[in-house]
Amino acid sequence: MMGMKRNRRAGAVVALTLGALLVATGCAGSGGDDGGSGGGDDAELSIQFLPKNLGNPYFDTSNAGGAEAIEEFGGTYEEVGPTEASPTSQVSYIQTAAQQGVGGLVVSANDPEAICDALDEARSAGVKVVTFDSDTNPDCRDLFINQATAEGIAQVQVDLIAEQIGDAGQVAVLSASANATNQNAWIELMQEEFAASHPDIEVVEVVYGDDDDQTSFDKTAALLQTYPELKGIISPTTVGIAAAARYLSTSEYKGKVALTGLGTPNQMREYVEDGTVTAFALWNPADLGYLAAWAAQALITGEITGEEGDTFEAGKLGSYEVGPDATVLLGDPYVFDAENIGDFDF
């Protein structure tokens, strides 16, 4: 009995020394390297793209645009991200970026607040933070690249659905995740627009597909079943609209229930051609990523600081100016339909 106690006590001592060793290495590290920041000279043009989740064709395109920009100005590109779009899943990648001391982090946030603290820590480690597509709280990032004004995005979708269902009837919204900043901003504006200009259209429900294909597919099925009078579905997320279109095209509601929202031409082409979808909108995500990368570069080299009125060069897109709230606007949304969908490849 005593022997066993001695074994375990000795074991505890070993474990404690181990823990001390681990901590000591950290302290020793701090002596040699000051904080692991990029330093001032030869600003590290290493930029990491952190989308909402990997395996999302929309972000694949925007990341490719970013990669193109980074190659143009000679930086290093890396793409990281979680497999599911939940608020906390991005935190460990932000922490890793801070540890690695990258120059810039370009992120599309799943939640406006959840990653704020991690971003602040990264910024104090010298990383420049640029958000794009979906913003965080303005206090924890340096710049936000917005694809279009939220009002413009909401407006175009409301106009499309109103036109497709004859300005009267029940509609539902198939969104991404419940906390996504951009989704909630657009949905709120859509509700206001409906109330103001289309009083005969009723938004019966907002469901969340979590930017997951299977979930969005099943939620569409549930919507159609729960609301037999449904006339239209708006899905302001490319994953959602693709899944909804796939379900609709094999269901008895094809052609009877209108579907619109934000989608990529490649995913939607088949459904525009078979009549499930009449028209939808988007912008060019590649341009968005491209602009975000150039903005990060401008921040790293010190060309701009994120103040309102700063201007910077963005390669082939020309020069852009920083607006209020440290936001840069890409342009206006674009409407795709059967006539022009063959012209695009993304």
Partner: protein, 345 residues
């Protein structure tokens, strides 16, 4: 001359015994629950059952889980558990997509065979480790769950299979029907009937029950325990592989998260269906009805006005209730056996 006729006790004739067995069977109870749920939902919204979409979806969605639950039942009956089935589904679903993309014109039957083979192989790894290394299946399949999912994600990368990558007639399997019943459901039913027949009428199947009831006794009796356990895991893996191929047919899009969480759903379906976690009891019919019940509740909740976020809680209550019921029945059975032993003395 005085031929006395033994008075017939009421309720002991062959027919009434069968009726009583069916009436008190666990499977009947759950089937009744399923019917009740469907009736309640349809009363609230007739399109739940009576629209062609509604009827189709009711049969289609649970078919995939049914396959996985039947495989899981095989394993649970031998007093093991298989946590890796979700990852196997994901891997084979991605393999399906990859085969269609990389080898254009590949016959569909080859893809099916490849998926089932891969699933069976992954299941065999589990079975060998459990049977030969004598390590509890919980731990082994926990490890292989991580490993298979990791391989799946590493292989997929940030890629995903899109519906447009798969040939149209393959995807048709997921949406077409024969005489009003979706093809996927027919496939699932065929598998179910084959599995039930194997467990009931083939010696290998019946031995699984023996092994689950009392592994030591089975070993002493001379049954080849290792071989049967490996078989059970291979079946579980193969069925999960088949479910993965059909997943690609049904949903069209496959990401690295395919099949995530299916293992717990399958275990839940089997347990609710009467397959006791302590092994040796239960049928695949029960597991199948359990799968249907779980997913139908999921669809019925929003129609009944309950937020479908409560679905998992309902599933938890059902699982707990089933386990308590199993325990009560086991205790009663134990007492009855003791009483019988006393009588026979």
């Amino acid at each position: 001359m005085s031929a006395t006729l033994t008075p017939v006790q009421p309720g002991t004739s062959g027919a009434s015994r069968i009726v009583r067995r069916i009436a008190t069977a666990r499977e009947t109870g759950i089937a009744v629950a399923l019917v009740l749920v469907i009736v309640a939902a349809t009363a609230s919204n007739p399109t739940f059952l009576f629209s062609s979409d509604g009827f189709r979806d009711l049969l289609l969605t649970p078919s995939l889980l049914l396959l996985v639950a039947v495989g899981q039942a095989f394993v649970i009956i031998t007093r093991s558990v298989d946590l890796s089935v979700g990852s196997v589904v994901g891997l084979t679903a991605y393999l399906t997509g990859r085969l269609f993309i990389d080898i254009p014109g590949i016959p569909i039957i080859v893809v099916f065979a490849a998926g089932v083979l891969l699933g069976g192989l992954l299941g065999a790894v589990n079975g060998v480790l459990v049977a030969w290394a004598k390590v509890p299946a919980l731990v082994i399949t926990l490890g292989t769950m991580y490993i298979y999912r990791g391989i799946n994600v590493a292989w997929t990368g940030s890629d995903r299979i899109n519906a447009s990558d798969l040939p149209r007639d393959f995807r048709g399997l997921g949406t077409e029907h024969l005489l009003g019943i979706p093809i996927l459901t027919i496939i699932a039913l065929v598998v179910l009937i084959a599995a039930a027949w194997y467990l009931r009428n083939i010696r290998g199947g019946r031995e699984l029950y023996a092994i689950g009831s009392d592994p030591d006794a089975a070993h002493l009796y001379g049954l080849r325990v290792s071989r049967r356990i490996i078989t059970a895991f291979v079946v579980s893996g193969a069925l999960a592989g088949l479910a993965g191929v059909l997943y690609a047919a049904r949903y069209g899009t496959v990401s690295s998260a395919a099949g995530f969480g299916w293992e717990l759903q399958a275990i839940g379906a089997a347990v609710i269906g009467g397959v006791a976690i302590s092994g040796g009891v239960g049928t695949v019919w029960g597991a199948a009805i359990g799968a249907f019940l779980l997913l139908t509740i999921n669809r019925a909740l929003p129609i009944l006005g309950i937020d479908d976020f409560w679905q998992r809680a309902v599933v938890g209550v059902l699982i707990l209730g089933s386990i308590v019921l199993d325990r009560l029945l086991a205790v009663r059975q134990h007492r009855r056996l003791i009483a019988q032993r006393e009588v026979d003395r």
